[in-house]
Amino acid sequence: MPLPRLLAWLLLLPSALLLGLVFLLPLGWFLGNALGELGSGSEILSEALAIAGSRAMQRSMLVTGEISLATTLCCLAIGYPLAFALTRAKGLMFRLVIASVLLPYFTSVIVRTYAWMVLLGRTGVVNNALQAIGVTQGPLSLLYNRGSVILGMTYVLLPYMVLTLFSAMRSVDMRLLQAAAGMGASGARIFLRVFLPLTLHGVIAGSLLVFILAIGFFITPALMGAPEDMMVGMLIERQVEQANNWPVAAVMSLVLLAVTMVVYAVYSRFADIRRANPA
């Protein structure tokens, strides 16, 4: 039911103001002034191209893309069945699963990451257990590699995927699945031909959300990654905190923002958010 146009705008106003005041205004100010130090528009552009073309930035973008993509796929692989289980769980079970999905948000990223270190370290729980039951002889290097970064980021970002998928799955009329079974469809066919297509907009939205959030990560890869797992966010943080070079940080941020916008544009071309939710 469409709201009257004026009312819709009025309802939008508080969030627009908040976003404008605490996000867009300072961001614009920072970028404008930081870039202003570089000089004219063409100088900014040549600086941006130089940074975007630099070996470190390209390597880092590649690393960022790989880690973000892998994280997104892991979130999807874990989140899809989890979200489905949530649609079927009731009462206490539902609350338990929701609580364990949301738990990461009640602790700081540092605590969470140290928890991973306790689990995955050379003398950590996993390594001790593996050696105790004789699977491995010496400790495995489970920490400080690409895999542990992806694991840590998946853990942090999983709730975004699960909640997005959950709401998409909740809107699926479960009688359609029963109907499909009644018409002779196997479980696999029901999933592939009915349930998956009906939740595809959730898959796309959740993946996009996780991917965009992952692109900007820097704490988890800094703590859990190998030295070469340097994501763009870390590169930017170094420019601000170590080199005190804000113009370069601003240009790097813009490059990252541009990539994010491209991802978003691709997404909105293929999925119309309003149409995607079948009535």
């Binding site: 130089a50 630099s54 390597r59 690393v63 920490l143 400080y144 030295p227 170094r238 080199a243």
Partner: protein
């Protein structure tokens, strides 16, 4: 690609970002705000310095934390909230070059005596409070008989196998000096640092480095969890672990001495009180307390006489290890920070 740091316009941005750090309405004149690293450090300094200072002068001391980038942003915004900055001397040099600091008023000292301060720690715009050292630390279980006795052996991953760690760029200073010494450069011939040579040397040790540490906490964590059996860490961090019974030991040979110092910001609203604090904190008796707890060497030469022998045996800057070590040259770092940051990123990303 990079440019000198200071320009007028950045002050405007800095103002936008930096203003709301500390809320301090109409501050009483009898109060000083000091920038520290926070945490346990504050408690130790309060016990050993601040309380005594308040008792002697009636001036309260309030602490707050801020990173160097925030301090710089604050200064540029024209809103320094601090009266005293207690930080690594490279940060203070950075601020000094921005023109953000007042000279230390050595002439007015009445508690301390400038002649008692170690000469390497005495500067016009900053005065050292203590020295700490980046030392080679090894796990005694991993190296029961023979351990790396210098940086060259630390770098020798064949003769001394095992995972090891070194400081990351994120810690402030990557181990360029150590890399050069490991490659055969004499400690008095390190500067100006040959970046190419340093990174080539780092490349040799990298296969044995699962992780470079960026915070003191992580460096200690990795040693106590046996993630690494060899590490270049700040001596205070590892001493705490040793005191708790960790099977670790320090090799003091070629320790790199670094300096913690005080500076007084130009925009301090109580510069007189701040100078008085620096004076008070520089006397030997005020330094003994934290030297004992932090295991860092006091900047006042007279303070060493007040420390027990067992502490002197584990203290940088003390008679036992001063000659084994070398001072890190901060000026070079401040001249080359941008270059090093870039080179580090390139090296790390391969």
């Amino acid at each position: 690609m990079t440019k000198p740091i200071v320009t007028g316009r950045r002050a405007v941005i800095a103002g936008a970002l930096a203003t709301p750090f500390i809320w301090r309405p109409a501050r009483a004149a009898q109060q000083l705000v000091i920038r520290t690293t926070g945490g346990v450090y504050d408690d130790i300094m309060r016990r050993s310095v601040y309380d005594g200072f308040t008792k002697a002068t009636g001036i309260e001391v309030v602490t707050a934390a801020a990173t160097m980038s925030k301090l710089i942003a604050m200064y540029k915004a024209g809103g320094a909230e601090f009266d005293i900055i207690d930080t690594g001397d490279s940060g203070l040099l950075n601020l000094e070059r921005l023109g953000a600091l007042l000279p230390i008023d050595y002439a007015s000292w009445k508690y301390g005596n400038p002649d008692e301060i170690i000469k390497e720690l005495k500067f016009p715009y900053r005065v050292g409070s203590y020295v700490y050292a980046t030392v080679s630390t090894y796990n005694k279980q991993a190296f029961p008989d023979k351990h790396p006795s210098n940086w060259a052996e630390f770098w020798d991953i064949k003769a001394f196998p095992g995972p090891r760690s070194l400081p990351d760029m994120g810690s402030g200073q990557p181990p360029l000096e150590l890399a050069l010494i490991a490659d055969g450069v004499a400690p008095d011939k390190l500067y100006p640092i040959d970046l190419d040579r340093a990174f080539k040397s780092l490349t040799r040790i990298r296969p044995a480095v699962p992780k470079f540490w960026d915070t003191g906490a992580l460096s200690a964590q990795m040693l106590s969890d046996k993630e690494v059996v060899l590490s270049a860490v700040w001596n205070g961090r590892v001493q705490t672990l040793i005191d708790k019974g960790a099977p670790l030991a320090i090799e003091w040979n070629q320790n790199m001495i670094q300096v913690q110092a005080y500076g007084v910001p130009k925009l301090s609203s109580n510069p007189k009180g701040a100078q008085l604090f620096v004076d008070y904190a520089s006397q030997a008796s005020a330094q003994v307390g934290y030297a004992k707890e932090l295991r860092y060497g006091p900047s006042n030469t007279k303070a060493y006489a007040m420390l027990p022998q067992d502490l002197l045996d584990i203290m940088p800057g003390g008679p036992k290890y001063r000659d084994l070590g070398f001072y890190q040259k901060i000026d070079w770092w401040e001249d080359n920070r941008d270059r090093v940051t870039k080179a580090w990123s390139n090296w790390v990303l391969g």
